[in-house]
C-alpha cells in the first residue's frame, strides 16, 4: 500500500493564508473563470480515469465498473450541472413586487462565502471531493480539500493532479490524519463542509462554533427498507442486495436492514439466495465484482459485529481481516436489540428483521435517529404513504435504493442525526454562498411616503396604510381569541 505524504503542519497556515489572499484578489468574480475551473475538474478526472480506477483498486479493491458508476459519474454530472447553471445561479434577482418597496429596486445576489474547507470520507473519495468542490467553485470561493487518509493512493493522486489542473492559489489539497485535521480546524474558515460520521461531526461542529463558522454535515444513517408482502420479491431482493454490497457496503445511502412481515421472511430469504448466487457465480471471495473494506481496523470491526449477532446468518458470514475481506452477508431473524443495531455497520451485512405489522416497522424506524434514507418496496400508494408520512429522512424512495444520489436536481442531505445542509446542484451552490441584498432609495421617497418616519412623531394614518391587510381571523374555535374590546391604535 502506498504511503501518503502528509502536508507539513506548519505549511497548513500558509496554505490557508494563500487561499485567503487569492480569494481577496477578486479573481473568482469572473463567471467565465469559474466555468473554466469547473470544466478543468471534469478534465482532471477524465484525462486520468485509469489512474483513479487503479488507485481505487489499490485502496479499496474496487471493481472498475463501480468506480465509474459511483465515484466518477456523479462528479461528471456535477461538473455539467454547475457549468450549465452558474450564470443563472449568480444572476442578480429582483425581489417580488411589493407596493411599498418597489421604488427602492430591492435585489438579491449570491456572493461567495470566502475560503471554505472540505473534509471528505474514505468511501467515495473522488465523488465526495470533486462534487462539493465544483459547487464551491461555482459559488466563487477558494477551497482547501482534505481527502481521506485511509485511501492513500487516491488521495496522493488528488494532491498530484489538483495543482496541475486548477488554479494553484485558490485551490489546495492538505493530506494527513488527525494532527493535520486538528490544525485545519484551528483556523478560521468561511464554511466547513464535512462528510462522515456523527462522532467526528460533533468535534468539527464544536471547532466551527469557536469561529462562528457555518457548517454542512453529511452524516450516515441506518437506512431501513420496508417490504410490502405484495411486492415483487425478486426485484426487491436484487435491488436491495445490489445497494448493500456496492463498494463492499461502504456507502452512506446503502440499506442497512429490511423490515418484513414475519410470515414472508422465508420467501424473502429464498429470493435473496437466488440473487446472491447470480451476483457471485464463483462465490464472492473469487468475484471480480466485489470490493474490499478500506482497512484492517474496519474489517475487524465488522467481523466482530457478525460474530456477535444473535440472528441467523443465511448468506456469507465469513471474513479474512488480513485481506480486508468481508463476505457479503445476510442475517435473518434479527431482533431490535441486536448488536447489529448499535451503530451504522458500513459494511456488506444486511439484517432482515421480521415484524408483526407495518406499524411495528414504523415504530422501530422512529425509535432511532432519522436516517439518510427510508426505502419502501411496494406498488401500493397507501402503503408507501403510510411509511413515508410517518417517518423522517433525507430521502424517501420507493422501489429503489442508493441511486438517487446521482439524479440531477435532487439534493443530497440528511435530517436530525443524518445531518444538515446539502450537496449536489443548486442547493449545494447555496451552501457556499450568501445572499447579499441591496436597495437604492430615491431621495423623493420621503416626500411622498416615508416622510412620516422622522421625529418628531405625530400620530399618523400613513403608517397604517403601509400595513398589509391581515390574513382573515380564523373562525371561532378552540384556538381563536375573541377580539379584545379595547381596539388598539392603527385601526383605519
Amino acid at each position: 500500500m502506498s504511503m501518503l505524504v502528509p502536508t507539513p503542519i506548519d505549511e497548513i497556515s500558509n496554505i490557508h493564508r494563500r487561499a485567503r489572499e487569492a480569494f481577496f484578489s477578486g479573481k473568482t468574480k469572473s463567471i467565465a473563470f469559474r466555468k473554466a475551473q469547473i470544466a478543468q475538474v471534469g478534465y482532471l478526472l477524465k484525462d486520468n480515469e485509469h489512474r483513479f480506477i487503479e488507485a481505487l483498486k489499490q485502496d479499496l479493491r474496487r471493481p472498475e465498473s463501480e468506480t465509474i458508476l459511483c465515484d466518477l459519474a456523479g462528479a461528471y454530472i456535477e461538473v455539467r450541472s454547475a457549468y450549465d447553471n452558474v450564470e443563472q445561479w449568480t444572476k442578480i434577482q429582483k425581489a417580488d413586487f411589493n407596493l411599498n418597496f418597489f421604488a427602492m429596486s430591492p435585489k438579491l445576489k449570491a456572493e461567495p462565502k470566502g475560503v471554505v474547507l472540505l473534509i471528505a470520507p474514505f468511501n467515495l473519495p473522488t465523488f465526495l471531493v470533486f462534487s462539493p468542490l465544483v459547487s464551491m467553485i461555482a459559488g466563487g470561493n477558494a477551497a482547501v480539500i482534505k481527502p481521506p487518509d485511509q485511501t492513500p493512493a487516491c488521495s496522493a493522486l488528488i494532491a498530484e493532479l489538483v495543482p496541475q489542473y486548477l488554479d494553484n492559489d485558490l485551490y489546495h489539497v492538505v493530506n494527513g490524519g488527525v494532527p493535520e485535521t486538528k490544525k485545519l480546524l484551528d483556523l478560521r474558515w468561511d464554511h466547513i463542509f464535512y462528510i462522515g460520521n456523527g462522532r467526528t461531526g460533533r468535534i468539527i461542529a464544536e471547532a466551527a462554533a469557536k469561529h462562528l463558522t457555518p457548517t454542512t454535515m453529511e452524516l450516515g444513517g441506518k437506512n431501513p427498507v420496508v417490504l410490502d408482502p405484495k411486492c415483487d420479491f425478486n426485484v426487491a431482493a436484487r435491488r436491495i442486495l445490489w445497494g448493500r454490497f456496492l463498494n463492499c457496503g461502504q456507502i452512506c445511502m446503502a440499506p442497512e436492514y429490511v423490515l418484513v412481515q414475519k410470515e414472508h421472511q422465508d420467501r424473502l430469504v429464498d429470493a435473496m439466495k437466488e440473487v446472491y448466487a447470480s451476483f457471485y457465480p464463483e462465490g464472492p471471495e473469487n468475484s471480480d465484482s466485489l470490493a474490499r473494506i478500506v482497512n484492517e481496523a474496519h474489517a475487524a470491526r465488522i467481523k466482530q459485529i457478525i460474530d456477535e449477532t444473535k440472528g441467523t446468518i443465511v448468506l456469507g458470514g465469513d471474513a479474512d481481516v488480513s485481506k480486508r475481506y468481508i463476505a457479503p452477508t445476510v442475517v435473518r431473524d434479527v431482533a431490535f436489540d441486536d448488536p447489529l443495531f448499535q451503530d451504522e455497520v458500513f459494511g456488506p451485512v444486511l439484517a432482515v428483521v421480521p415484524v408483526n405489522s407495518i406499524e411495528e416497522a414504523i415504530d422501530f424506524i422512529n425509535s432511532g435517529e432519522s436516517p439518510l434514507a427510508v426505502y419502501v418496496f411496494s406498488t401500493d400508494k397507501s402503503f408507501q404513504s403510510k411509511v413515508f408520512d410517518n417517518t423522517r429522512s433525507g430521502a424517501a424512495n420507493a422501489n429503489e435504493v442508493v441511486i438517487t444520489t446521482a439524479i440531477p436536481g435532487l439534493p443530497m442531505g440528511g435530517v436530525g442525526g443524518s445531518g444538515y445542509g446539502y450537496y449536489t446542484g443548486k442547493q449545494a451552490f447555496e451552501e457556499f454562498t450568501h445572499w447579499r441584498i441591496s436597495i437604492d432609495n430615491p431621495s423623493w421617497a420621503d416626500k411622498i411616503g416615508f416622510g412620516f418616519r422622522f421625529p418628531p412623531y405625530k400620530p399618523s394614518k400613513m403608517l397604517a396604510m403601509l400595513y398589509p391587510s391581515l390574513p382573515p381571523r380564523p373562525a371561532q374555535g378552540k384556538n381563536s381569541k375573541r377580539a379584545s374590546t379595547k381596539s388598539g391604535a392603527g385601526k383605519l
Partner: protein, 507 residues
C-alpha cells in the same frame, strides 16, 4: 418590574410536549398552519396598545417605532407566509432529464421538528414572531425564549401566546442564563439565535453536541460612506434617523460614517440641524426618543463616550438612572477608538482621504451586517459593492430592508449565518426530502448493467450514459496556472543551462 421565570424542571417537559405535539402530525395540514399564522398576526393586532405600552415601559420606545419596526414587519411576514405557503410547501419536480424521469424524482420541504428561537432585547416582537411565523409555515413546533431585560414585554407574550396559538406546539420559556443554559442542553431540530457574538459561540457549541443546525443573527458595526457630492441633507436625515431609532439599539443601525475630511464639518452641521428638527425640545424631553434597555448598558455607553479620543460635536449626556443617552455625534474618530463598538445613539464620524481609504477601512474590520452608501454616483456605488462584503448594501437609505418582503436579513462572518423573513426564513426551518419511485421494469430496459457480475458489455453501457463534459478550457482560459508554467519553464531552463555548462566543460 419582575418577570416570572419558567421553573427549570418545567423546561424539559415543555420540550417533550412540543415534540409529542409535532410527532402527532397535526402540523401537516397546511390549513392548520395558515390558521396559526393568522393567529400570530391577530394576537398582535388585538393587543397593539398593550405591546406599545410594554415597549415604552421596557425601552422608553416611542409608539411609532413599535408600529413601524415591530407591527409592520410582523404583519407583513404573516401576510407573505399566509399567501405563499401553498407555493412554498408544494412538491417539486427537478428539470426533466431523460435518464431519470421514469423514476419520478421529486423534492418536498418537510419540517425539521421542534425549533428554539432566542431573541435579544432590542426588537423582541419582531425577532420572535417573524421566525415563529417561518417555523409555523414549515410545519414545526416552536419554543420561544424572550429576553429577560424586557420584562413587561416578555410577560405579556407569555400571557398571550397560549391564548391565541396551539398550546402544545408553541411555548414561551422565560428566564435568564440558567434557563437558557437548560434550554441549550436539550436536542433541538434547529436553533435560531439573534444577539451578540459571545453568546452566539456558546449557542453554537451547545448545538454542536446534538448536531443541531443553526441560524445566527449577530452584530453590526455597520459603516456609512458619504459622498460629498450627494444631497447632504437627505443623507444626514436618513443616517441620523437610522442611528437614533430605538435609541440606537438596532443591529442594522449605522455605527460610523466615512466622509472626506473636507466635508466633515458640513455633515456635522447637518446632523446638528436634524437633532433640532427631530427633537425640538431636546431628546430627553421628546416623546420621539427611546431609552437604553438597562442601567448597566447606559453605564457601558457612558464609559465609551468618556473614553473617546474624538471630538464630541453635540450630545454626550448620559443619565444612568433614567437610562438616557443623548443622541451624540463625535467627529475625528480613528480606527482604534473605543467608540467603534457602541449599540447606542452615538454616531462616530471617521474622516478619510478618499473612497479608496474608506473601502480599505471597511475591509480591515469584520464583515458588517450592512454597508450604507450615500451617493448618486453610480460608479462610486459600484466600486463599493464590488470591493466589500456585507449582508446588505443600501444606497441612500438605512435600516429599511428589514421590512422589505422578499429580502432576507442575514449576516456573514462574525455577523452570523442563515436568514430570517420571507421564503429564506421558511427555508431555514425545513429540509428538502427527496423521493423517487422506480417501476420494476426499468432494470430490464435501462439499469441492468449495474448488477454483478460486472461485464465488459455492462461497462460499455455505463460509459454510454455518461454525462458529456463542457468544452476543455483553452490555455489562456484555464489557470493551468502561471505558477506551473513558470516552474516548467524554469526546469527546462535549468536543464538546458546544465547541459550548456557540461558542453562547455568538455570543450
Amino acid at each position: 418590574m419582575s418577570l416570572t421565570y419558567t421553573p427549570l424542571d418545567e423546561i424539559p417537559n415543555i420540550h417533550a410536549t412540543a415534540r409529542r405535539a409535532f410527532l402527532s402530525g397535526k402540523t401537516k395540514s397546511i390549513v392548520f398552519r395558515k390558521r396559526q399564522i393568522a393567529q400570530v398576526a391577530w394576537m398582535v393586532k388585538d393587543n397593539e396598545q398593550r405591546f406599545m405600552e410594554a415597549m415604552k415601559a421596557d425601552l422608553g420606545r416611542p409608539y411609532q417605532e413599535t408600529e413601524f419596526f415591530d407591527f409592520g414587519i410582523v404583519y407583513g411576514e404573516s401576510r407573505m407566509a399566509y399567501d405563499n405557503i401553498e407555493k412554498w410547501t408544494k412538491e417539486q419536480a427537478p428539470d426533466f432529464n431523460p435518464n431519470w424521469f421514469l423514476m419520478k424524482p421529486r423534492l418536498k420541504p418537510e419540517p425539521k421538528g421542534v425549533v428554539l428561537v432566542i431573541a435579544p432585547f432590542n426588537y423582541p416582537l419582531f425577532l420572535l414572531l417573524v421566525p415563529l411565523i417561518s417555523a409555523i409555515a414549515g410545519g414545526n413546533a416552536a419554543v420561544l425564549k424572550p429576553p429577560e431585560n424586557t420584562p413587561v414585554f416578555s410577560a405579556l407574550l407569555a400571557e398571550l401566546l397560549p391564548e391565541y396559538l396551539d398550546k402544545e406546539l408553541f411555548h414561551v420559556v422565560n428566564g435568564a442564563v440558567a434557563e437558557t443554559t437548560k434550554l441549550l442542553e436539550l436536542p433541538w431540530d434547529h436553533i435560531m439565535y439573534t444577539g451578540n457574538g459571545r453568546v452566539g459561540r456558546i449557542v453554537a457549541e451547545a448545538a454542536a453536541k446534538h448536531l443541531t443546525p443553526l441560524t445566527l443573527e449577530l452584530g453590526g458595526k455597520n459603516p456609512v460612506i458619504v459622498d460629498p457630492k450627494v444631497d447632504l441633507e437627505m443623507a444626514a436625515r436618513r443616517i441620523f434617523w437610522g442611528r437614533t431609532s430605538n435609541a440606537g439599539q438596532i443591529c442594522l443601525a449605522p455605527e460610523y460614517v466615512l466622509v472626506p475630511e473636507e466635508s466633515q464639518a458640513a455633515l456635522v452641521s447637518a446632523f446638528r440641524n436634524f437633532y433640532h428638527s427631530f427633537f425640538p425640545e431636546g431628546a430627553k424631553k421628546s416623546d420621539s426618543f427611546g431609552r437604553i434597555v438597562t442601567e448597566a448598558h447606559a453605564a457601558r455607553i457612558k464609559n465609551l463616550i468618556e473614553q473617546t479620543r474624538g471630538t464630541i460635536e453635540f450630545g454626550g449626556d448620559v443619565d444612568i438612572a433614567e437610562k438616557y443617552v443623548s443622541p451624540t455625534v463625535v467627529s475625528n474618530v480613528r480606527a482604534d477608538d473605543p467608540l467603534m463598538e457602541i449599540f447606542g445613539p452615538v454616531l462616530a464620524i471617521v474622516p478619510v482621504k478618499d473612497i479608496d481609504e474608506a473601502i480599505a477601512f471597511i475591509n480591515s474590520r469584520d464583515v458588517p451586517l450592512a454597508i450604507y452608501v450615500f451617493s448618486f454616483d453610480k460608479a462610486l456605488q459600484k466600486k463599493v459593492v464590488d470591493n466589500t462584503q456585507s449582508g446588505a448594501i443600501m444606497m441612500n437609505e438605512t435600516l429599511v430592508t428589514a421590512g422589505a418582503p422578499g429580502l432576507p436579513v442575514g449576516g456573514k462572518g462574525p455577523g452570523g449565518y442563515g436568514y430570517y423573513t420571507s421564503k429564506y426564513g421558511f427555508d431555514q426551518f425545513v429540509h428538502m426530502r427527496v423521493s423517487v419511485n422506480n417501476p420494476a421494469w426499468v432494470d430490464k430496459l435501462a439499469l441492468w448493467f449495474r448488477f454483478p457480475p460486472y461485464t465488459v458489455a455492462g461497462g460499455k453501457k455505463i460509459r454510454s450514459l455518461e454525462t458529456p463534459l463542457p468544452p476543455r478550457p483553452t490555455d489562456s482560459e484555464s489557470s493551468i496556472s502561471n505558477t506551473w508554467v513558470v516552474l516548467l519553464a524554469t526546469a527546462v531552463a535549468a536543464a538546458s543551462s546544465v547541459a550548456v555548462l557540461r558542453a562547455m566543460e568538455r570543450v
